[in-house]
Amino acid sequence: MKNALEAPRPIRKPQSEAAAALPLDRDLLIRMHDLMVKGRALEERLIQMYRQGHGFFWIGGPGEEAFNVPLGLLIKKGEGLDYDYLHFHYRQSATLLAMGEDPIGALRQLKNTATDPYSGGRNFAGHFSIKRWNVVPVSSPIEVQYSMAPGTAIAQKRHGGDGITIVTGGDAGTAEGDFASCLVWSSRPGNELPILIIVANNQWGISTAASTVQGCTNISDRGKAFRIRSKTIDGNNPVVAYQELREAMDYVRRERKPFLLEALVSRLYGHSSASGANFVPDEVDCIATYEQWLEAKGVANRAHFNEVRTRWNQEMAELARKVRDEPQPTPDSIWNFIYAEKK
C-alpha cells in the first residue's frame, strides 16, 4: 500500500477526459501540492538552520505532508468548544501551514528566540501552541496527548455542535498505556466521544523498527476491540488521505463517536537531528509521487512544480534571514508564567 501512489478510482482515459474525472477538485489538488511543498521547504530550512548552528535541535515531519496537509485543510479552525481541539505531536508543521499559520513562527522556535510564538524560546522545534486555534501545547513525551484528548472531547460532547477533538501521534507511542487509555475513555458505553484518533505510522521509533516490537498486524485493529470504527490508509497519497480524513471527520462530527485512523507514512529525514537529519532515499517521497500523478493526469507540469519549489525555498530563506538576528529571551524571563493570575 505504502509504495504505490494510486488514486482511489484509477483513471485510464485520454488526458482530456481524465481531467474531467479527477477525484478531487482541480484547484484543491494544486493547493494541496503547494502546501505540501511549502511544508517540505519549511522543514528543510529548519534542518539547514540547525546545521548552521542556529538551533540546538530539530525534529519535524518531512515525509508526512501528504497526510498532514489534507488534515489541516479539513480542520474546523477556531477557539473554543465549537471548533476542533487539536492534540498534536511534533511532526505536524504541514498541518499548521495548511491551517494558515505563518511559517516564521517555526523558524523562531527552532532558533529559540524571544519572539517564538509557541514557547518564547523555551521548547524544541515543532512544539506548537496556538490558543486561538485550539492547538494545545505540543510536548516531547510521545504519548501524553492520547490521555489528554478525551478530556476536550468530553467537553465537546457535552457542548454539542460539530466541533471534534483530533489527536495525533506516531506508531511507537501506541506502545504506551496512554494509547490504550484513549481507546478506553473514547468508547465508554453511552459516553462515546467525538474524537478522531490518528496514528501516523512511519514504522519507526527512533532507530527501532516497529516490526520488531509490535505484534499487531495493523495498529487500527486495536480499535475494533472497543467497537471503534477504524481504518488503515495510505498516508503517502494526499488524495486518499483527503477523502479518508473527510469521511472519518464527517462520521465523528455527525455521530459524535470515535474513529481510529492509521495512516502509513514515510519518515524522510530520520527521527530528528539526533539521528543526523539526512534524507532517506529508500522511502516513498509523497511529493515526488504526487507530482508524477499530477503530471500524468494533466493537472500540472514540471515547470509548475519547479516554480512552486523555488518560490517556497526562497520564501523560507528570506524568513530565515529575517529571524537571524532576533534576540534570545532575557534570563529573568525564566520566572514568567509559572502561575496564571486573575486579571
Binding site: 481541539y85 514557547s119 490521555s147 489528554m148 484528548a149 478530556g151 476536550t152 487509555s181 478506553v184
Partner: protein
C-alpha cells in the same frame, strides 16, 4: 460539626453550584459510592471513571484545556505515581506555552497513614508534589480549612493538588462551616447517603455560604515564644496536642499549620522563628529529600543568626513502606510521643 469528608463534600457542592465546577470524577467518585471516603456523595457533577490514573489526570488536563473546571480524584495517593509525568506536564503547561494555556484543575487525593492501610494505602505525596513546579499544593487539618481551601482551589487558575489527610477525614471539627446546621445528626440526615437503598437518593444541601481560606496563608494554631512547630495534615493536631501538654512543663511552643505547602507562607514562618529561635518541622513523608528539609535549608540560610538551636525535622522513616501491623505503623511515622519528645528536646537544647 461536620467531619472533614462532609466539609469537602459541601465545598464541592458549593463549587459546582457557584464556582463553575463542571466535573468531579475518578474511580468510584460518582454514585452509588460517592468516593471511598464519601467526599463526593450526592454531587450533581460527580461521575465514575475507568480504573486508570493516567486517564484521570489526562482527562482533567483536557477538560481544563477546554475551559471546564474539573476536580479529579485519585483514590489513594499511593496510586498516583504512574501519572507523575502527566502531573509534571500539567504543572509546566502554562510555562512551556509561554503563558498561552493555563490549567484550572484540582486533583484531590487522600494521603498518609492512620487507617492501618499497609503498604499501598498509607503513603505520603507532599515530598513528591512539592517538587513539581507550577502546582499549588494544599493540605487541611480541620474541616473548616478543608472547606475553605477547596473553595479557593476551585477558583484558582492553576493546577491545585488538594491533599486529604485520610486519618482526619472522619474527624469532626470544632468550628461550624458557614451554613452548616449545628446538629451533627441533622447534617448527616441531610447529606450522608443511606447505607442501603441509595438508588434515587438525593441530598438536601444546607444553605452554604462562601468561605475561602486563601492559598498561601498559614495559620497560627497556638501562640508561643520558645519554640516554633510547623506541620500540616495528620501530624498537625498531634503537634497542637503535644504543645498543649508541654505547657504544663513550662515549654511554650508556637504551632503553625502551614495549610498551603506551595507556595508557602514564608512570612509567617520567618516571623515565628525570629521570635522563638527554634523550629521543628513535622510531617510524615519519608525523611530523605523531604519537604521539611527544604524548609530547614531556607531557615538555615536566611535565619541562621536568629537561631538558638539547629532546626529539626521529624518525619517518616526512610523505609519502603508502612507495614500493616500496629507496631510497624507506629514505628514508621511520627506519633504523639515522638512529637512531644522532639519539642521537649528542642526547647531545652542549649548552644
Amino acid at each position: 460539626m461536620a467531619s472533614m469528608a462532609q466539609a469537602i463534600r459541601m465545598a464541592l457542592h458549593y463549587a459546582e453550584e457557584n464556582l463553575g465546577v463542571t466535573d468531579v470524577f475518578g474511580e468510584d467518585v460518582g454514585p452509588p459510592l460517592g468516593g471511598v471516603f464519601t467526599t463526593t456523595q450526592g454531587l450533581k457533577t460527580a461521575w465514575n471513571s475507568p480504573l486508570d490514573e493516567r486517564g484521570i489526570i489526562g482527562v482533567a488536563m483536557g477538560l481544563a484545556l477546554a475551559g471546564q473546571r474539573p476536580v479529579a480524584e485519585i483514590q489513594f495517593c499511593d496510586y498516583i505515581f504512574n501519572a507523575i509525568d502527566l502531573l509534571k506536564l500539567a504543572g509546566g503547561t502554562y510555562w512551556a506555552s509561554n503563558g498561552d494555556w493555563n490549567l484550572p484543575m484540582v486533583v484531590k487525593t487522600p494521603v498518609g497513614s492512620g487507617i492501618r492501610g499497609s503498604i499501598y494505602h498509607s503513603q505520603s505525596f507532599d515530598g513528591t508534589i512539592t517538587r513539581l513546579p507550577g502546582w499549588k499544593v494544599v493540605m487541611p487539618s480541620t474541616p473548616l480549612d478543608a472547606y475553605g481551601l477547596m473553595i479557593s482551589a476551585c477558583q484558582d487558575l492553576n493546577p491545585v493538588m488538594y491533599l486529604e489527610p485520610k486519618a482526619l477525614l472522619r474527624v469532626r471539627g470544632e468550628e461550624l462551616i458557614p451554613g452548616e446546621p449545628s446538629d451533627d445528626r441533622t447534617l448527616s440526615k441531610m447529606i450522608d447517603a443511606p447505607l442501603s437503598r441509595r438508588s434515587g437518593w438525593i441530598p438536601k444541601w444546607p444553605e452554604l455560604q462562601p468561605y475561602s481560606v486563601p492559598i498561601g496563608k498559614a495559620k497560627i494554631v497556638r501562640q508561643g515564644n520558645q519554640v516554633t512547630v510547623v506541620s500540616y495534615g495528620r501530624t498537625l493536631p498531634l503537634c497542637a496536642k503535644a504543645a498543649g501538654a508541654l505547657r504544663g512543663e513550662g515549654i511554650d511552643a508556637e504551632v503553625i499549620d502551614l495549610r498551603t505547602l506551595y507556595p508557602y507562607d514564608w512570612d509567617a514562618l520567618k516571623a515565628s522563628i525570629q521570635k522563638t529561635g527554634r523550629v521543628l518541622y513535622v510531617n510524615e513523608d519519608t525523611e530523605v529529600t523531604n519537604f521539611g528539609e527544604h524548609l530547614i535549608r531556607r531557615t538555615t540560610e536566611e535565619l541562621f543568626y536568629a537561631l538558638l538551636a539547629p532546626p529539626k525535622l521529624l518525619a517518616g522513616k526512610s523505609i519502603p513502606g508502612i507495614g500493616l501491623a500496629d507496631s510497624l505503623e507506629m514505628a514508621s511515622v511520627p506519633q504523639l510521643p515522638d512529637v512531644t519528645a522532639a519539642i521537649r528536646a528542642l526547647a531545652s537544647e542549649q548552644p
